[in-house]
């Protein structure tokens, strides 16, 4: 599994389109177990990312691309997702610094660092029905070189059945079982777009 700067840029453009397409679904889910702004926030952030990526076709390396995306998300997404996704990309920037291509265990390690960044920022752990429940099995699948899309399918199904114990959704308690976590869904959309470009 290899990721290049140009392919990562393409994946992020694809993610922006996917998030835009699922904007209402993300917002509806968030209305059920949150504050109802996740789709709008993610759309605003990734539309800003899209604009920047379209304006700049070439990046020096994966690190420079990740850093720009991270800072844009921090400035534009708002809510809880801004700092969480922003931190993930700032961690990518550190792991990818000076590299135009990353593969194998080095790629898995970058996704683990991003996941650790999300956990640190949100003071969260795996199993609390958050985006961490998607990112964790994803980097583990990269480490073990198992099927990434199947991993995401399973992770989404598992997350949906959990009780939320972190973030605003936790105030809804047992009512969160059977409702998908909006951050988990948006994470799966982003990660699937990345899977598509891995070669």
């Amino acid at each position: 599994m290899k990721l290049s700067t140009e392919e990562f840029r393409k994946a992020l453009l694809k993610a922006a389109a996917e998030l835009e397409q699922h904007k209402d679904e993300l917002t509806d889910l968030d209305r059920e177990i949150g504050d109802g702004d996740h789709g709008i926030n993610m759309s605003r952030g990734f539309q800003a990312v899209q604009k920047e990526l379209e304006a700049q076709e070439e990046y020096e390396d994966l690190g420079a691309l990740s850093k720009q995306v991270g800072m844009t998300l921090i400035k534009t997404v708002g809510g809880a997702s801004g700092p969480l996704y922003g931190t993930a990309f700032v961690k990518f920037a550190g792991a990818f610094k000076g590299k135009t291509e990353v593969e194998g265990q080095e790629l898995a390690a970058a996704f683990k660092e991003a996941t650790d960044g999300i956990k640190m920022r949100g003071k969260s752990e795996f199993g609390q029905k958050t985006m961490v429940d998607i990112w964790t099995p994803f980097y583990e699948a990269l480490e073990q070189e198992s099927d990434l899309n199947a991993t995401l399918d399973q992770a989404l199904a598992d997350t949906k059945e959990r009780v939320a114990t972190k973030g605003r959704a936790s105030y809804f308690g047992d009512a969160t079982v059977g409702v998908q976590d909006p951050g988990a869904l948006s994470s799966s959309l982003l990660l699937r777009s990345i899977v598509e470009v891995l070669s």
Partner: protein
């Protein structure tokens, strides 16, 4: 005198709290990073960082719920100014009251943080 930065999802909530604090500690500088730039509900790390650049002394950040804290911690990491700024976890209203009064008594930032931790944790 230590400045307070109130980080809230709601501009009205922060403005109201500032009014309350002015009754107890009229001299303590209170800065707000509340709501989004367009006036809607939310918190934003870059707005908090901008507010940190307005400090006229060292500062203490207090937050309301969830993502306000995340954004405050992120803003602290992004801040490149030379003031000593700290975040302390406490209920926003009660914590800000204690901090404003202690600042009004010219306590140091460390003393204020210690005082709040002793009271609320």
């Amino acid at each position: 005198m230590i400045n307070l930065i109130l980080v809230s999802h709601s501009e009205k909530l922060a403005t109201g709290l500032k009014e309350l604090l002015a009754e107890m500690a009229p001299d303590t500088p209170i800065l707000l990073a509340a709501g989004l730039a367009d006036g809607s509900i939310g918190t934003d790390a870059s707005r908090i960082e901008e507010t940190m650049n307005e400090l006229n002394d060292d500062g203490l950040i207090l937050t309301d719920i969830g993502s306000a804290t995340m954004n405050a911690e992120l803003a602290l990491e992004l801040y490149s100014g030379d003031r000593n700024v700290q975040f302390v976890e406490a209920p926003l209203v009660e914590g800000a009251f204690l901090a404003a009064v202690l600042s009004g008594q010219s306590k140091s930032l460390d003393d204020i943080v210690t005082g709040i931790k002793a009271e609320f944790s």
